[in-house]
């Protein structure tokens, strides 16, 4: 294993120290990343969190127009209730706090425990479950939360910034999740620093289809194929659950180890696929946003926009990972 770290144990804290040093707009305290500016009275607070290793998610999305606080857990391990409780109490500006939780057993349990213990804060939650690789059935823990988390954080964050009440912000978050679907493909495994070797062995001629964001193997393996064919696999899977029509927000997301030039190659194919269905890419993001450490691969997340969502997507945002309009 080759990693730019001091030790597997200190990696998360070291990275948080780096974030604090790089971004005066952030405050890092007891494993929670806050806006340095503190809570704004009357604004709904947004708290998210999850395992580390997905950077810039979530800590990189703390700032104006997105999150008020992020709770980073250990690598691929959900945060503990203490972090969530502290974050929730600290960011409450009197209008309540929305917990944005990716649908993983660990995340759900820890956020639930925390929410129960936040007696003095009105807490609402949204469960993000956009990954079409997992059937949402009795036979699974339900669809995983992946790329749509960024959309939920951005759009709900913009609405909160406008002063909307908790009920509306939570409703919008749920709506964005409902309108969004994702599918991911890995070219290589990631290596968690604690394990020290790749989570799975993938021959040079194969890819994993339907991966999550924790280095879990996918649903199936398939032969390595062209960007066009892989994009088609992802888009067919999404189209099967969320018919592609109208105005779409499209994220072509890298898993952390795939360089930008390859992501643009894949985006060209995704964009062509969408146009082939008669739908329109009206907003897009191409880059490494919701990652799995050093994994090579990509995911596509699609959200069906309407005018309100488009307006909220376009609203100013100022975070380390996403910034425009200010």
């Amino acid at each position: 294993m080759k990693k730019l770290i001091n030790s597997a144990e200190s990696m998360v804290d070291d990275a948080l120290a780096g974030m604090a040093a790089a971004h005066p707009s952030l405050l890092v305290r007891d494993r929670v990343v806050y806006r340095a500016s503190g809570p704004r009275a009357g604004k709904v607070g947004l708290v998210s969190g999850g395992g580390s290793g997905h950077e810039p998610l979530h800590a990189g999305f703390v700032g104006y127009g997105m999150l008020d606080a992020a709770c980073p857990g250990e690598i691929f391990t959900s945060p503990v209730p203490d972090q969530i409780i502290n974050a929730t109490e600290a960011v409450d500006g009197g209008a309540g706090v929305l917990h944005i939780v990716k649908n993983y057993t660990g995340d759900v349990l820890n956020f639930e425990m925390a929410a129960e213990l936040c007696d003095d804060v009105q807490v609402a939650g949204v469960l993000v479950n956009d990954d079409v690789a997992v059937q949402d059935s009795l036979y699974t823990a339900g669809r995983r939360g992946t790329g749509a988390t960024l959309f939920v954080e951005k759009i709900a964050g913009a609405l909160a910034e406008e002063g909307a009440p908790l009920r509306e912000v939570a409703g919008m978050a749920a709506e964005v999740n409902e309108r969004s679907r994702s599918f991911g493909i890995a070219l290589t495994s990631c290596t968690t620093p604690a394990a020290g070797k790749p989570t799975f062995d993938l021959p040079d001629t194969q890819v994993e289809l339907g991966i999550g964001i924790h280095g879990e193997p996918g649903r199936t393996r398939a032969p390595l194929a062209s960007a066009r064919e892989l994009a088609e696999v992802a888009m067919d899977a999404i189209h099967g659950e969320l018919p592609l029509e109208g105005d779409l927000l499209v994220m072509l997301n890298g898993m952390g180890g795939t360089p930008l030039i390859e992501l643009y190659v894949a985006f060209a194919e995704v964009s062509a696929f969408i146009h082939g269905k008669g739908a329109r890419v009206t907003r897009s993001l191409v880059g490494n946003y919701v990652t799995s450490l050093d994994m090579q691969g990509f995911s596509v997340t699609i959200c069906r926009l309407d005018d309100t969502l488009t307006r909220l997507w376009d609203a100013p945002v100022e975070t380390p990972g996403l910034r425009w309009g200010r």
Binding site: F76, T77, P81, T105, L109, Y139, T192, A195, F200, R219
Partner: protein, 227 residues
């Protein structure tokens, strides 16, 4: 293993007249920490196969913290030891296993009454297992820690009914947990991360079931050492 062993002679250092002392529980957590450290790579490898390769690391971190907490504020009762361990796990582990094991030990701690007889412990243990079932909404056969914990609890209850001594009861319990864990291998996961794999989860032992077997095995180890 003899079935005619006198309960009173079992767990001598910890168990007083067949009763489980605070020391017994502290020793239990000590041994769990030791075993988790030894088997960390194995647990993580199991999790790498059908999860996210952190189960060994998670539990190692958690039970190391439990050890520290029990040293820093020595518990004065079995209930305190269990509550402290549970709270520490919830506060320090994260992931799925943190709240699940944490809630289990907390439920045990709340259910246990002094003096802790084997019957009392069995009831408390079952309360812990029920807590896991309620929180995780998993049933036996879902390929989770429940598959090790439920047979363990059932075996322990039967041992109590049959009047088996502490040491042997824990040995039977450990064996049941171990068998339950191994029985997860052919199952298809329906809860937790492994469920995302569908068919591909078949053929691997569930990491949480494996760690549950380890935790129960420590019960037997500590009881045996104490004799």
């Amino acid at each position: 293993m003899s079935t005619s062993m006198d309960p009173d002679s079992v767990g001598g250092d910890f168990a007083d007249g067949g009763v489980l002392t605070t020391d017994f529980f502290v020793a239990w957590f000590d041994d769990i920490a030791k075993q988790v450290r030894l088997q960390r790579e194995r647990l993580t490898a199991l999790d790498a196969a059908i999860g996210d390769a952190d189960h060994g690391t998670n539990l190692d971190r958690g039970f190391t913290e439990v050890g520290k907490a029990l040293t820093d504020s020595p518990p004065t009762s079995p209930g305190q030891a269990l509550l402290s361990a549970g709270t520490t796990l919830i506060r320090r582990v994260g992931g799925a296993s943190g709240p699940l094991y944490g809630s289990a030990f907390r439920a045990m701690g709340k259910a246990v009454e002094e003096p802790v007889t084997l019957a009392g412990f069995a009831a408390a243990f079952d309360a812990g297992v029920v807590a896991v079932e309620q929180l995780g909404k998993a049933v036996p056969g879902d390929k989770t820690m429940v598959d090790a914990l439920v047979p363990a609890s059932r075996t322990l209850a039967l041992a109590v009914r049959d009047g088996v001594g502490v040491r042997e009861a824990f040995e039977l319990t450990a064996r049941a947990a171990e068998e339950g864990a191994r029985a997860t291998i052919p199952l298809r996961a329906r809860k937790g991360r492994a469920s995302y794999l569908g068919e591909r989860s078949i053929g691997h032992e569930d990491p949480g079931a494996a760690s549950s077997a380890l935790i129960v095995a420590s019960l037997a180890t500590v009881a045996a050492v104490g004799s």
